[in-house]
Symmetry: C2
Subunit: 507 residues, 2 copies
Amino acid sequence: MKESLSALKKAARELYLLEHTQAVISWDMETNMPEAGNEERSDQLALLEGIMHRKLTSPEIGRLLSALGADDDKPEGKGDFKIEDKAFIRELYRKYSRASRLPESLVTEMARQTGLSHNNWVSARKNADFSLFEKSLSRIIELTREKAEKIGYKDHPYDALLDEYEPYMTAKDVAGVFGPLGEKLADLTGRIAAAKQVDTSFIQKPYLSELQDRFGRRVIEKMSYPGGRGRLDISAHPFTTTLGTNDVRITTRYDENLVLSGLFSNIHECGHALYELGIGENIQGNILANGVSLGIHESQSRFWENMMGRSMPFWEHFYPEFQKTFSEQLDGIPLEAFYKAVNRVNPSFIRVEADEVTYSLHVILRFELEKAMLSGELEVSSLPDAWNARMKDLLGIVPADDAEGVLQDVHWSAGLVGYFPTYALGNLYAAQFEKNMRIALPGMDDDVRAGEFKHILGWLRENIHQHGMIYPASELCRRVTGEDLNPSYFTDYLEKKYGEVYGLRGN
Amino acid sequence: MKESLSALKKAARELYLLEHTQAVISWDMETNMPEAGNEERSDQLALLEGIMHRKLTSPEIGRLLSALGADDDKPEGKGDFKIEDKAFIRELYRKYSRASRLPESLVTEMARQTGLSHNNWVSARKNADFSLFEKSLSRIIELTREKAEKIGYKDHPYDALLDEYEPYMTAKDVAGVFGPLGEKLADLTGRIAAAKQVDTSFIQKPYLSELQDRFGRRVIEKMSYPGGRGRLDISAHPFTTTLGTNDVRITTRYDENLVLSGLFSNIHECGHALYELGIGENIQGNILANGVSLGIHESQSRFWENMMGRSMPFWEHFYPEFQKTFSEQLDGIPLEAFYKAVNRVNPSFIRVEADEVTYSLHVILRFELEKAMLSGELEVSSLPDAWNARMKDLLGIVPADDAEGVLQDVHWSAGLVGYFPTYALGNLYAAQFEKNMRIALPGMDDDVRAGEFKHILGWLRENIHQHGMIYPASELCRRVTGEDLNPSYFTDYLEKKYGEVYGLRGN
């Protein structure tokens, strides 16, 4: 068994290296590549994808996994191994069995269909006309359903899809959390809308990009982003990518008219990067060296972006420097006014521009609709109406057209069904973690006020980062917080914070 | 046969894409990667190397080549194919047979040995002590000899090695060209040394890097380097690399105290890039889309660097702008004085710093010595003495220690035996091509004086670039110039140019 394990590790190491090779060429594609290089680069990516798929589903890996006794009932195998090794077998088995259950014909057809579908989505969005995308989306939903059937599930086909992004979580788990969350958020949003609105005029002025960059770099440096193990570049859409254990890069973009957007991107992506950079040495360089789920990953970026970056202690530290850097725009604006502007709540149509309170409502809407399309309860042709109706329920507003409604996200056109929930799960995990961090670090706010993040980062490393994928998300949550995921920590946090910002009564 | 050919093309396309994938991650390593990423990146490169080797030597490729009738006597196969297809089969057969003749144990041992050897070379050079490198080099020569035996050769083991970099050329061919070349260059160098030396004081001042970069970018733009199909970045050592048909990148580095070094790097690398960018559409995206040999590749960089960039017409165009950009250093310095400084000849110890006249002498010395080591005529232990003696013969100077002598180049420590000749062959091909270009383009100097390079580039594309690897170098040379490689074009060019620069009599 020991020999099988070590042979399996060797094979998995190659997958790990190939994944990072792919990350390098994708990173280059987004940051440096001349546009004319696009076609061949896509071919390079597809080729690597194929090589990895064949390697992952090779008879050798199947044989080794089965020699270790890994199966659906006991994915961690039957050997008497230490915890990291069991987790390694479990995660490789999960990848292997998912990949080998998908026939190549389906994978190819999905790739072909998403390629076509992307173009139709682009033109539909441009023309604000869902009918140009409807047929593509129907086909994608059909193929996605087939994918779910092939992979298999116990309760709902959605489970098989969600598992790719949020392993071991089910649609039922998500619905159980999103139900009460949606109600509370919609209620809070309504009360905020009825309150006196905050002034944001001074952050709507132009702010020089060079100065945004200089300040943004100072912030991530303070957060301990190690320049020697990463770098910050510009790309059309901000992202974090791991190119190796010691090479975790982030990107951002600055808009002179949206000063907070670039800054919070830096902080958000840095939060993701610190997670990957904090993986424990015992699992570095193997497939466990990864965020355990997209929800947990998002909890790290959201914690830094919102619970740190949009907090009063944070700006007590950084505002004097920020105000000095942008004295033209901020002269005479007191900290309290700036803090309120940073935390303005405003129901709006576009998810990626949403504030901390309304953001998760956008996600809940998408989860409900994609689940209903998948089960057949909702026809694709009825999607725009369903979207608009649910926007009205949850956010109290109705989009003027499909471009600012159902066509805004790229995900479905790319076949990413089951992905959306992780965005909101991140908020929930972040708040639940933060609650416990506060107990362990009673001087936390004072640290932040002093621009000192080492205890906070230390707590995250100790409790979350170092473990990589060793513990499934739900187990990690129980280990760190002593209970299952509970959305009330997030809503309590929002009630308290926004009750103050908007002077709400009767909380 | 048609089906075998198309299956072979499909397999070769994957090799082509993997090579470029490797190019992307190597480029990133040299330009962007945080240093701590080095170890894993090297593992990524080694893994890709292994995947490519297994693909190239796969039974499938062997079977297809043999179905097409390709063998040592008829590497282009026996089918009735068009010229590009025959060349494709020939080049793939060459790669395949070289790679499949090398046992994996030898490849692995060579990789291990060059890894160790590199460290020993670094410390030997640092301590200027050849004895620290001697054992490693002996082992490398031994393994290289074994490699040559496995690959096979008709006349001299050196042929099997040279063939990797300068396909179809033999040691005898090289010796036939280098013999007369060495004599003529040594003689010219001696006469120049006895003449009145040129003033270079004004180019030895510091020149601001930012301004060097701005000027250097202007020059490659004038040379038609297409920004939309490439980019210029900074790296420790300048290089050109092809990441895709439409993504050919160059790098440079600027030294405030060596203004010409950065500029001529830009021009040199741009010359390489224009070659790869000029490949004909009929062979784009397959393994023929490459320089036909390193010698021909170097002819392109040297043509632009020396025959253009160090010419009087070139500076008649660019000097006014250059002088204005660096008015502090060049105020009152006339064009003629600047031109002479650019073309200063000075026998020196370090190859990469050598001028146009003495450069090839450094190469001839290395060719003679590596050939003699390989055949056993020269013991590795006697290498430093042989080096110093031959330096005296050819350049009239003797290095003070091994660091500025036998230890200066990285090549042998990396197992690159047979590579050096291509550097000098480039000069020879360039001069022979230029002679013919002048006949076709009588207004060439006027073009350059006007900063107009499109006819020149057009001639290079038409005669050389578009063909990629379709014609072997010797055949290409005959097609373009009507005769075999003939070193007298290069020596005639030097006699004329440097006769004028140094006012030599009796040419």
